[in-house]
Amino acid sequence: MLLIKAPRNQLLQPLQAVAGIVEKKHTLPILSNVVVERAGEMLTLLASDSEIQIRSTTTAGLDQTNAAITVSARKLQDILRTLPENVDVTLDADERRLTVRAGKSRFTLQILPAEEFPRMRGGEGEPVEIQLKQNEFRSQLGLVQYAMAQADIRYYLNGMLMSVAGGQLRMVATDGHRLAYCSQPAQTPEPGIEVILPRKTVLELYRLLSDGDAPLTMRVWPSQVQFLFNEIELTSKLIDGKFPDYNRVIPPNHPKLLQLARAELAPALQRAAILTAEKLRGVRLVLAPGSLKLLSINTEQEEAQEELEVAYDGEGLDIGFNVTYLIDVLTHVDAENFDLRLNDANSSALFTLPGNDNFKYVVMPMRI
């Protein structure tokens, strides 16, 4: 039976949208497959890693009977990607195999029955539904997502806190050493909701959302969340855990204020980073009236020193940081100027944007 006959891109784009979450190695072999399902004129592609599921639809062209199969996501994607751009592709399935035809090329792939594919069905009961704009949501994700932990044993840090309450959409991410916080006005439900999105879900959303102001619908159940945008439906489990209280971590009144231009600070940090010790990545910030020095030394005792002129006339300070954490905020936040607030060598550093209360980035120091 014929599943689809369409130009290569009409099939490749929705496939790439869903195939990003397919894990290379999975204990459940069928999860390395993608579901290809035809219903009427629509063709649905669906992939899952058992935590996240992405569904994408496209028009299938010819009217045929309904059918569904699963086939290796990676192989199908590799085949389509390497075919010429404008060639017409047909997918044809029998009981055991899927045949891909395009021009003079022909591939037969092994299939597994679609009814064996484990699907996420959305949560129990009525979800809370929130309407957002894709570009706003995406840019807010970009301001915090880099601070998420990766494979930390504190599983709740391997994700991002999203709070929709009191007219604000707040996002917070931390790996225990630094924390990024961002808040935007939004329409919020009553009562508000607060959930932790898994790391992979956040990264996938950031990848799939477009820069336009097209709508984004978010449906939240107690243990699941669903995002609907473009032709895509992304369903994800939520992390069940207690996210640290970010309000206690953001310092309210550090006395030392430095106004820094990214154009100066970022390249200076990048140069100093060259001579930090591998794995340690320590850089010292030495503050004196009118001057901020960046010092680093590596395992071969090679040293770097950078000096920035700053409008500062308070007490001196010598404090160490992991240079990666400092560079991170400068590369991910699109702003010309930053305010840096410090207290003493044992206290955190706070980065904010001048005249903007919505973004905060806290870094803990490192004893070098």
């Binding site: 794995k279 490192m366 004893r367």
Partner: protein, 617 residues
Amino acid sequence: MPAIQVLPDLLISQIAAGEVVERPASVLKEVLENALDAGASTVEVALDEGGVRRLRVADDGCGIARDDLPLALARHATSKITSLEDLEGVRSMGFRGEALAAIASVARLTLTSRIAEANEAWRISVPGGELAPAALARGTVVDVEDLYYATPARRKFLKSEPTEYGHCEDVFRRIALARPQVKLQLTRNGRIVHRWPGAAAAQRVAQVLGEEFTGAARALEVQAGPVALSGFVALPAYSRASRDAQYFFVNGRFVRDKLLTHAVREAYADILHEARHPAYVLALTLDPRAVDVNVHPAKIEVRFRDARGIHQFVYHALERVLAEPLAGAASAAAAPAAFHLPPPGAAPAQPRFQRELAVSEGGVTQAAQRYFDAFALPRTGTAPTLAPVTGFAPAALPAAGAALPLRPGAAAAAGAEQSEAEAAVPPLGYALAQLAGVYVLAQNRAGLVLVDMHAAHERILYERLKAVVEGMPAAQKLLIPAVVAVSARELATAEEHAATLDRLGFEVAPVGPQELALRSVPQLLVRAHLPDLLRALLEDLAEQPASRVIETRRNELLATMACHGAVRANRQLAPAEMNALLRDMEACERADQCNHGRPTWVQLSMAELDRLFMRGR
């Protein structure tokens, strides 16, 4: 309700015997130690059926006076100590006065003895206990027959004859190593198995453990104030699959002490594969008052007054000997200076012994002397009937040194009379070529040197990384303190060792009766499982006065870094690069083994090469 009664004497002895006389080997140990305490210079042991049917020990020691014989078999009767002060500074092997009584309660025991002043020997036998005249030139003969005849239940727990004999032989070997100057003979079922003449330590070690061991071992002799450590440690190439070649003596007493074993294991940690066990014969000598030997029924464990200091001392002494690069052994004059360099940045962690630590480079001869001295303990007047140990012939020592097969490098050092032209050739010689992109071939004085270049380079990088990181104990502060559930004991350990933890990068504070907040962690280990790491560290700190958990974990990481940084196989090296590698190896500590304990280089001497071609036959 049964009434409480005082137990009969025999039963008390039999209960005590359960602890003291666990198996024939423990009988042998007790009786042999008595012989040594009596100052014997010759001891003959005869075992029938693994010591169960008959176990006979004859010595030429001071003997027991006729009137003391019945007392010798009584419980809590001894000539070795007389007061609590004596107990606190025990110099003899035994002191409890219960061994013979315990043995007599479970076996037929005959004690025959003659003191030097007496004209005749006397014998006492149990059961019975009648004194009778006997024939004996001097010393004491202890004859134990039908072990456990009185407690048949015990007999059922005995293993086969070969097993029980094996245990007895172990005891015999330990005594032999502890007292090299004593002439020893072991007879099994009427056949002589071992006959070891009194010898210097090096010879005795070769007799007991074989030339293979002494060939692979480095002599060691370190003194720090009243504490001294001497003996032989085998290089990792001679490591064993079991712990069968581990002999540690404290003041001449064989011990299997957790603290000491741990210190040794730590010293080998960096150069020995986990599954392998080091081989060593080590003697620790210290003031008897600084160690309590009365903590274990078989005295196999001891307590040190300054446990932390002893651990550090043993660890550092061994670590230095093992770290000594092959080149160091050959150019001994330059090596000692390097030995005194404290690790950078580790100043607060230094044990108090380290400042006094001096490694002697005297080679085997001095070490043998030291080792010997360690056992020839001066005796004080607690046992006036004991003669001082004699029989030590200084003239035997140089011969001992010469007899011991040495590594080529060490031999050169001991000889020390090389011509200047020869001395100019570095120990690993000069590179000739590269083989298959894997091995570097070099020529040195002895012949051909083959170097595994990746393994060697890996070790060099690893040692460099370690040196640098030790000076940079970076710690990352945590935004949210990690709360770790701990036991009350772990909490107490954390508080007690707060300063040590802080130095390692762990800032901890108790936040509840069973909870610790972790405020900072070592930067190199930020990706580790923090609660597990902290608990492992606390457990180790509680157990061992000087924990090295962090170093170990950190070194694992550095080893990985070194592995990735080292030259890969199939990289063509220029002759200058190969020579630079050889010079780096000579200067690098532990360069003989790669990070996994495999050798980094081998020597093929001219003689070995000649043999391949059947030359000079």
